[in-house]
């Protein structure tokens, strides 16, 4: 079942191992994270060593090898956001959801918080992306409201 989904993605990319990163992005979109079984299958399908797949999957920040929560929250830690206080926002989020400051899953698996380096919306700093939706000029209060919603 799961392998069929992977097969489909691989077919879409014409079995081109150079598209590995793109394929992994798509696989992650389907499963919300990168399960080991899918990656093993992917390696076989593309005829590349598992070690290469694993290396790429752990190298890039966008990939997660562990299951993630229902809602994915990115807190931008780019320079522009940093000078406008992104660190404080992150601390608040971490405290509020009782997760480590580097990000992680909440216990109820509702949220996964991840730090990102720049989302290219620097004029709006500090920025939080909640399930793909940009929220600019965040303050600790606005952040909390966002999570309560």
């Amino acid at each position: 079942m799961d392998n069929a989904k992977v097969d489909k993605i691989v077919e879409k990319h014409k079995k081109d191992s150079c598209q590995l990163i793109g394929i992994l992005q798509d696989v992650q979109k389907v499963f919300n994270y990168l399960p080991k079984s899918a990656l093993d299958h992917l390696a076989k399908k593309l005829d590349i060593p598992e070690s290469q797949v694993y290396n790429v999957a752990t190298f890039f920040k966008a990939f997660s090898l562990n299951p993630r929560g229902k809602h994915i929250v990115h807190v931008c830690m780019g320079t522009a956001c940093h000078v406008r206080g992104a660190k404080r926002i992150m601390e608040d989020v971490a405290r509020e959801l009782s997760i480590p400051e580097a990000g992680g899953n909440t216990k109820d698996m509702e949220h996964t918080v991840e730090q990102v380096n720049c989302v290219g919306a620097c004029a709006l700093g500090p920025v939080i992306i909640y399930d793909g939706e940009y929220h600019g000029s965040m303050t600790p209060e606005k952040t909390l409201k966002l999570f309560k919603k």
Partner: protein, 617 residues
């Protein structure tokens, strides 16, 4: 609609003429900025509102609604410009839409509250008169306000793809390279290498297979101009690469885009599809002997992939590990073949050089840095956004004239150029002319064009620590100096910020910086110590204050500050409720007190207090 393939210069010309003819220059056009910044401000709702309102009023045929790429003035989004008068409205909300249509579009009346207000409280009517735009020279970026990125017709109608037939059919490859060389265009990605010279080396390689790569992995935090060009005008990139394809004899290109830029990926994909439909990509383009196609590759979120050799590695489905140059990619790059890799902005400049001529391009800028450069002006500044200025403008002009000065009129402290590996320049360097060499001389760099303005509330040691921490996490970990060196530097800087620094630390940092710079494989490590070196050079007093006096002059380093409640406290108890560690106590309507043992210096109370009753020391 299935479009006809354009297979000659003539057919492209006809196609353009037909498009221009069909368009009334006096037609009312409502331009809504659809860049990511404005999307975050809710421009999608505004667009929807315009659509329904236009339909309701039955104006769909008379008034054109154009959703464009980023206009640059992100601070004031969502932006609406009404053409042909170029009336500028800022911070437009969905509720304002009926009024805009009723008053401005139909009757030509102005709505004052949506207009831009200058420093002298005077309302400014037209887009081009706004100081933010007035001083800019928007040769690349200007198109963004006029084209729908999802429509190739818009681009052709304003003269896009006019350099292409010239290059493909009228010029030899030597002529193209010569033209690019004469223009003095230098790589906009940060290296500043002469683009024409790079092409010449690549063209001279005997290998038959060559590749072209567009570097759109804009990993610099605080910079987003490549994103905006790619989102707003993807065809200019395609045209630039096509011209290079003819010049060096390549037939395939890859665009490596960050996955964090979904809109750029989408728009680029549409643009490529449309170009294929018109036969501007594919076999025998415009009847010439050039075959060319483009593949889009998505990145995975790694700053190091902005480095060209790392990017090429990543394009081959591996991790983004750079390797030592030489061999340069122009000689041995993707799959070991000669490869031209240029940044988005560089590609966007190429069609302009071909169509307007190298002399025109070389007339802009300074002696060794030609043309314009887009900067992303962000941080503690009034007019955040993207600005395109000719090379050689001073930092002061950019910060004060275009940027409108520092937020809340605080004191300017430093400007950081060139992304995380650039340097911080102090106030006395504000009159520095911005070009590749001058910035490098001053201990910073051009980089890809990030400009982050900082005011007195930014601690420079903390900032250096932030950058080193960032780069430590972004290092690929391949070579020792970068992996271990940055780790140790980060350790030292963290120690200083925590008030545990020693006198020897500054010298150790300087020693290490030199080694990391020289011995690292790639430019990430090679420039990583810049923030440290430049802050030590210009703000040594702050380091010394942290180390000797255990004081953070900007009151940001947590371990070195203390919160205290002063007599302004009215006893409203707001801070008591928000304090996460119950460090604040006090009865209603009496002055509160902070238990220093419990306080974690989170600063929430300062945010909550409406009376400025909490002092930071």
């Amino acid at each position: 609609m299935k479009r006809q393939r354009l297979n000659s210069q003539e057919s492209l010309k006809k196609y353009r003429e037909a498009l221009v003819k069909a368009r009334d220059p006096n037609q009312k056009v409502i331009t809504v900025c659809g860049g990511t910044g404005c999307i975050a401000y809710g421009c999608k709702k505004v667009v929807e509102a315009f659509k329904t309102e236009l339909e309701k009023q039955g104006l769909t045929d008379k008034v054109k609604l154009l959703v464009t790429g980023c206009h640059g003035f992100c601070e004031r989004g969502p932006l609406v410009v009404i053409r042909p008068e170029n009336l500028f409205y800022q911070r437009v909300k969905a509720e304002d839409v009926p009024e805009v249509i009723e008053k401005t579009v139909k009757n030509g009346e102005l709505i004052e509250r949506l207009q831009y207000e200058g420093k002298d409280k005077k309302k400014i009517l037209k887009e081009e008169d706004i100081p933010f735009y007035a001083k800019q020279q928007r040769t690349i970026f200007g198109f963004n306000g006029y084209v729908d990125p999802k429509s190739i017709d818009d681009y052709i109608a304003i003269g896009g793809y006019s350099a292409l037939p010239k290059a493909l059919l009228e010029m030899t490859s030597e002529k193209i390279i010569d033209e690019v060389k004469k223009s003095g265009l230098r790589g906009r990605g940060g290296g500043g290498f002469l683009t024409g010279a790079k092409w010449e080396i690549c063209a001279a390689q005997a290998d038959q297979t060559k590749y072209i790569v567009c570097n759109a992995d804009e990993g610099d935090p605080g910079a987003y101009m490549d994103r905006s060009v790619l989102e707003g005008n993807p065809h200019s990139i395609i045209e630039g690469m096509l011209i290079c394809a003819k010049a060096i004899g390549a037939s395939h290109a890859y665009v490596y885009v960050r996955n964090e830029y979904p809109l750029a990926v989408e728009n680029l994909g549409i643009a490529i599809e449309q170009a294929r439909e018109l036969g501007l990509l594919g076999k025998k383009i415009l009847g010439s002997d050039v075959d060319f196609d483009i593949t889009v590759n998505r990145g995975g979120g790694a700053f190091v992939c902005g480095e060209e050799t790392a990017l090429l590695n990543s394009l081959m489905g591996k991790t983004g590990e750079p390797h030592q140059k030489p061999p340069y990619p122009a000689i041995s790059g993707l799959f070991g073949k000669p490869t031209i890799i240029n940044n988005v902005e560089t590609w966007a400049n190429v069609p302009l050089i071909i169509s307007k001529g190298s002399a025109w391009f070389a007339s802009i800028g300074t002696e060794k840095s030609k043309g314009t450069k887009i900067f992303s002006l962000v941080g503690k500044i009034n007019n955040t956004g993207l600005v395109e200025v000719p090379m050689g403008m001073t930092l002061r002009e950019i910060v004060y004239d275009i940027g409108g000065g520092i937020l809340k009129d605080k004191k300017f402290k430093a400007i950081q150029t060139g992304g995380p590996s650039g340097g911080c320049l102090p106030e006395e360097k504000l009159d520095l002319m911005v070009d590749f060499d001058k910035l490098t001389e001053a201990g910073s760099m051009m980089g890809s064009g990030g400009m982050i303005v900082m005011d007195e509330s930014t601690c420079m040691v903390d900032l250096a620590r932030y950058f080193i921490d960032f780069l430590k996490g972004e290092s690929c970990g391949k070579c020792t100096p970068c992996r271990e060196g940055l780790k140790q530097m980060s350790g030292i800087l963290n120690r200083i910020c925590d008030g545990n620094g020693t006198e020897a630390d500054i010298e150790t940092l300087k020693d290490m910086s030199e080694t990391v710079k020289d011995a690292s494989i790639c430019a990430l490590g090679g420039t990583a110590p810049n923030p440290v070196l430049s802050t030590i050079k210009y703000f040594r007093n702050e380091y010394e204050a942290h180390i000797r006096d255990k004081k953070c002059l900007a009151h940001t380093c947590k371990k070195l500050i203390k919160f205290e409640i002063n007599q302004k406290c009215t006893g409203c108890t707001r801070c008591v409720k928000t304090c996460p560690t119950t460090a604040i106590s006090g009865k209603v309507k009496t002055v509160h007190n902070i238990d220093q043992g419990k306080c974690i210096q989170c600063g929430v109370c300062v945010d909550r207090c409406p009376f400025e009753a909490i002092d930071v020391d």
